[in-house]
């Protein structure tokens, strides 16, 4: 079939690095194409080219066979290239409708004034496409994360019929913030979108890619290294092409899953948070990993935040290392050796403008102070140790952390808590938006921590991850613990077992 | 005047931007333009230093200085403190530096403490200085011969007492008044409040002070205060006393809003043009004219006479070293006369308008 959108021999290079090397790929009408590869493989560069942020040094972009020059994200949008980004571009202070048509209000202008009624009507139209039943006049600040994701997609779809020519939808990690149920919904949407739009689906979750796409491109080191019809592909094969090496026999290092000790690290009795969760009780032992499964709104995010002191609990008792505690702020929790690896890595995990070393020591500054002054020597030394131990890829300890890849940033976050010497680590989507290679490293590190007797609470990125890593699993629903599973090596529950209690 | 200033602002702005642009430009500028003021030059530079040219009193003050400078065609500069003591002082230092001490300075210090520092600096550089209005009570010209030539002031206390009594008379000498003061800690503000209080005391209980509010010399604040008073006291207000004309005019406009302009008399001090007009219109009961033209000019003429050896200041009596100027009470009756006799200054009659040695009250 004739391609709607096409890249031909596109190369992009920056001082010192060749980001894209002769990349070619095409999307046919009504086709769902998967684009996979580790971070740094060049996926995001491809997106930036399609979004007009980078210009190709050679080669070009073709729409319906004709070469096009894309000046800006808006220009790309107008040319029918609609992107849904990993980090949301929804403005909380604007309404759903205003977000969907932001910058494109012309069609609703009457005598220079925006007709809200017409705008809302049009927005409702788009929301129907994504089966989202919220009022278009509601401010996005009041929407859940998943709902906003849907608004993003609705915004992209709003192109359909508003431009001449076809629409190509680029979904960058659309599922990383969604729960199983929502992912299924999204997939259904994608399936009936296929009738009209063409779709590029970018994800780390190979199963999903296999499930939803027709054709798959694998990128590595700025090149397209493999192309295959989805039906002939397997996770294993794809993975090999991505990392260029054999897939580890057992991905989640089950062999290293230690039997939990008898020493309780955290004892929770009847914890509750107003319209968050209620009556949550469990005991976490040193060297143990408790995984918490649940859909958004199940209260597990709130629970994690409370345990880390970000929100104070309204009821119940919490013991850490046998001592009764009440947390008012994060620093209360860290004082008792609890550290949170937040899901919003960029805003909460790291200070982007700080160097790797500065971030690593941020939670443990007093350790590097003698008579009031920082000991930069020690700081660098410790940083180097952890860079080596966690295999962090960085030019130097003084490199701005913001310039590292997602995986390496996440490792820095982990290192921060290790340097601080915490006893309990709460992992909130620790592998969100990082690539397979880095994921494996993270799992390795998690096992290292438990081996050293640290206790871990895990809000997994996927059910599979939760099952794979945890030694015990709490399933939460509507703010309560719906079920508890033992997940000793070999006797792991299946996803089906858990989902039954989740919804 | 304004044209000239605009021109000079142009050239100087250009030179600064070039300066910012870097050496070459700055250098070429340096050589292209002949340096106007050379350290250690022989002729005297005259300067008035005052708060800001944005108010009529000081604008006239500056004009007086310019007039005298023209009469002897000497170089004349106006310095403004913008209400910032440090700026005022460092500007003066800079000018002393630039003129190599050949400076005759007539300064209305931003705050009384500044006077001491300024006098010391001028002494060090060998210039001559006259101070106006503000100075510490223990700082005296005769202790700093010959450089500290004189301190001139207007006696705020009797003046404001007199004008207050004009106000009382305007509403029949019986009833309540509201008073608007300047910045609480300013010397003139304190004196003028004192004068008012004396007048009230002398009225023997006939006149009562309903309320006193500082409006920081600010027209707007005076306006709002007066409006609030009209609510609070209503027709109990028989008259409004303002410590200067700007505030008085603010109060007047508030009265006008309530249709009371001309019905409730207002008085102020300083004698700015707008206030004099208001007196003519019968909306102001009166104001006190300080004659800033004279202070601005004579504050330079006297030290110039000293610098050029016309007089030996050390031999002058104290009432020629610390003295009050003549303040004119402008009322409906005197306003015509006041306007028709435009102040022509005789710069040779140095102390003609001096009215006695300054008194220090506890």
């Amino acid at each position: 079939m004739e391609p709607v959108l096409e890249l031909k021999g596109v190369s992009v290079s920056f001082p010192g690095v060749k980001a894209l090397d002769e990349v070619s790929f095409s999307v046919g009408k009504g086709e769902v194409v998967g684009l996979i590869g580790e971070n740094g493989a060049g996926k995001s560069t491809v997106l930036k080219v399609l979004n007009g942020i980078y210009r190709p040094d050679s080669g070009g972009v073709f729409i319906d066979g004709a070469p096009v020059r894309i000046a800006s994200p808006r220009d790309a949008f107008d040319k029918g290239i609609a992107m849904v980004f990993q980090e949301q571009l929804i403005l909380p202070s604007l309404t759903v409708a205003e977000n969907i048509f932001l910058g494109r209000e012309e069609e609703f202008l009457r005598y220079g004034l925006i007709s809200k009624s017409r705008m809302n009507a049009a927005a409702a139209e788009e929301l129907r496409k994504v089966h989202l039943d919220v009022h278009p006049g509601r401010r996005c600040a009041d929407l859940s994360f998943a709902d906003r994701q849907m608004v993003e997609i609705a915004k992209a779809l709003s192109l359909d019929g508003r431009i001449k020519g076809d629409v190509t939808l680029l979904l960058d990690e659309p599922t990383s913030v969604l729960e199983k149920k929502e992912i299924d919904l999204l997939f259904n949407i994608i399936r009936d979108l296929k009738q009209r739009e063409s779709i590029v689906f970018i994800s780390h979750r190979l199963e999903e890619v296999l499930a939803i796409t027709d054709r798959i491109y694998v990128m590595r080191d700025g090149k397209v290294v493999f192309e295959t019809p989805a039906k002939d592909a397997t996770v294993k094969a794809l993975h090999q092409h991505m990392v260029g090496r054999q897939l580890h026999h057992e991905y989640y290092r089950e062999a290293r899953q230690a039997a939990p000790t008898a020493v309780p690290a955290i004892e929770a009795k009847g914890l509750a948070l107003r319209n968050g969760f209620s009556n949550v009780s469990f005991t976490l032992y040193e060297g143990e990993i408790i995984g918490i499964a649940g859909v958004i709104g199940s209260g597990r995010e709130d629970l994690a935040k409370c345990l880390a002191g970000h929100k104070p609990i309204d009821a119940g008792t919490l013991k850490v290392g046998g001592k009764l505690v009440s947390f008012r702020a994060a620093h209360d929790a860290t004082a008792y050796g609890i550290g949170l690896v937040p899901s919003e890595r960029k805003t909460e995990g790291l200070v982007a403008s700080f160097s790797v070393a500065e971030n690593m020591t941020l939670a443990a500054l007093p350790k590097f102070v003698s008579n009031g002054l920082l000991r930069f020597g020690d700081e660098e030394k410790v940083a180097r140790d952890w860079i080596a131990r966690l295999k962090i890829k960085t030019p130097s300890v003084r490199t701005m952390v913001g310039s590292l890849s997602g995986g390496n940033q996440q490792k820095v976050v982990l290192a921060k808590w290790r340097v601080a010497g915490v006893r309990v680590v709460i992992l909130d989507h620790p592998t969100r938006g990082i690539d397979v290679g880095a994921k494996e490293d993270v799992y390795e590190l998690v096992r290292d921590m438990t081996a050293e007797g640290l206790a871990v609470i895990l809000l997994g990125d996927t059910l599979e991850e939760v099952i794979g890593l945890s030694s015990r699993i709490l399933v939460m629903r509507d703010g309560e613990i719906a079920a508890t599973f033992d997940a000793a090596p070999g006797k792991k529950p299946t996803q089906v077992d858990l989902v039954g209690y989740m919804v | 005047m304004s044209i000239k200033s605009i021109l000079s602002s142009r050239t100087s702005r250009r030179s600064f931007l070039q300066g910012g642009a870097g050496f070459a430009a700055a250098g070429s500028l340096g050589f292209s333009t002949p340096s106007p003021a050379i350290a250690g030059e022989t002729t005297w530079t005259l300067a008035n230093s005052l708060r800001s040219l944005a108010n009529p009193y000081h604008a006239t003050f500056a004009k007086g200085g310019a007039d005298f400078a023209k009469s002897i065609d000497a170089k004349y500069v106006t310095l403004v403190t913008e209400g910032n003591s440090e700026k005022g002082i460092s500007d003066i230092k800079a000018l002393l530096q630039r003129t190599g001490g050949k400076l005759i300075l007539n300064v209305d210090p931003n705050d009384s403490p500044d006077a001491r520092v300024i006098v010391d600096e001028v002494k060090k550089a060998g210039g001559y200085v006259v101070t106006q209005w503000n100075k510490p009570n223990d700082l005296h010209p005769w202790d700093n011969n010959p450089n500290y030539v004189a301190h001139m002031s207007f006696d705020g206390v009797p003046a404001s007492k007199k004008i207050a009594q004009v106000l009382f008379k305007a509403f029949g000498g019986e009833g309540g008044v509201v008073a608007i003061g300047g910045i609480l800690s300013n010397v003139p503000a304190i004196e003028r409040k004192q004068g008012l209080e004396m007048a009230i005391a002398e009225s023997g209980g006939k006149v009562t002070l309903l309320d006193f509010q500082p409006a920081d010399w600010n027209e707007q604040k005076a306006f709002d205060a007066t409006q609030a008073w009209l609510t609070r006291f209503g027709d109990k207000i028989k008259g409004v006393f303002a410590a200067n004309d700007d505030m008085g005019l603010g109060a007047l406009e508030a009265l006008r809003q309530a249709g009371l302009a001309g019905k409730v008399p207002v008085v102020g001090l300083d004698g700015i043009a707008a206030a004099v007009k208001a007196v003519e219109a019968g909306e102001f009961a009166g104001t006190v004219a300080w004659d800033p033209l004279w202070t601005g000019g004579m504050g330079l003429a006297i030290p110039y006479a000293v610098a050029t050896g016309k007089i030996d200041i050390a031999k002058e009596p104290k009432e020629h070293r610390e003295f009050y100027g003549t303040s004119v009470i402008v009322t409906k009756d005197t306003v015509a006369a006041f306007k028709n006799s435009p102040e022509k200054l005789d710069f040779n009659d140095l102390w003609g308008k001096a009215t006695g040695q300054i008194q220090y009250r506890g």
Partner: protein, 325 residues
Amino acid sequence: MSRASVESIPLWTRWRSWAPVAVLLALCILIRLFSPNFLSVSNFIGLLNSASIPLVLSMGATFIILMGSIDLSVEGVVAVTAVLVSLLVENDVSSYSIGLFAVPIAILIGGAMGFANGVLHVKLKTPSFMTTLGVGFAGIGIATTVLGGFTARISDQSIRFLSLGRVLGLPVAAWIAFGAVLLSLLVQERTRLGRWLYAIGTDEMTARHAGIPIEKTRILTFTLAGLFYGLAGVLSVAQFGQGHALISQGRLFTTVTAVVVGGTSLSGGVGSVLNSVIGVFVVTILANGMILMGVAPYVQQGVQGLLIIVAVTLALDRSRLDVVK
């Protein structure tokens, strides 16, 4: 999906958005307790007189602050436009006498200075804080130079009418301010400029990606603000019957305070011109109350400071801005 969180939030915010009004009422009751005639008609009219100019100023300032910027040029712009008006209408300094035609001219000049703010800020990439500070200084300087430090007293009754006139018993200035508020509301809610400056204030990068012309919007917003300041300049002349360089001394901080007390966030994106209306009245009534209640002069600033803190504590919707700067 996650109904709980969706439904609970709006209730909270709706309650919150009324807090400034509640504070205003509380303040009125407090003052009423000490001063019976606070609620008298004459005082009400007095308050409208005092509030009309701050209202017009705050309309402009609100848009700037919603955009996440700040405008310190208020006093400078008002000074220039006021001096201009006073010279163009019948006055005792210049010979011009074009009456009400001076109004549009002054407003346009205000807009021009706002435009200068915007262009310098955007093109030189200097923070609005500094740009507007500089333009403000320049403005005062220009106003001083033009009048040579003196005051132009106006005798043009058509201009005076803007402040002294009464329509339906209310000061014309109040009606003008009311009109300015309606206009601002229209701009905020129903024009692209209005929505775009919200977008920029919330997240400039996203706005940029959506194809919003950032620079144009910023410049337009500063220009819009300038227009309001210009109008305020006219009203100042109308109120005082004269124009001079210091006519708006002290307006800057009261304006910004009013906007923030109203509940508009200095970090941008959160707030509304209606909040500022409340804010202006809180600040105006506070000053008015100080005198009505007969608070000792030298503690007034202190008391006002404390009450401002209380007011903001109660009124400001901090549920959304988790980081306070």
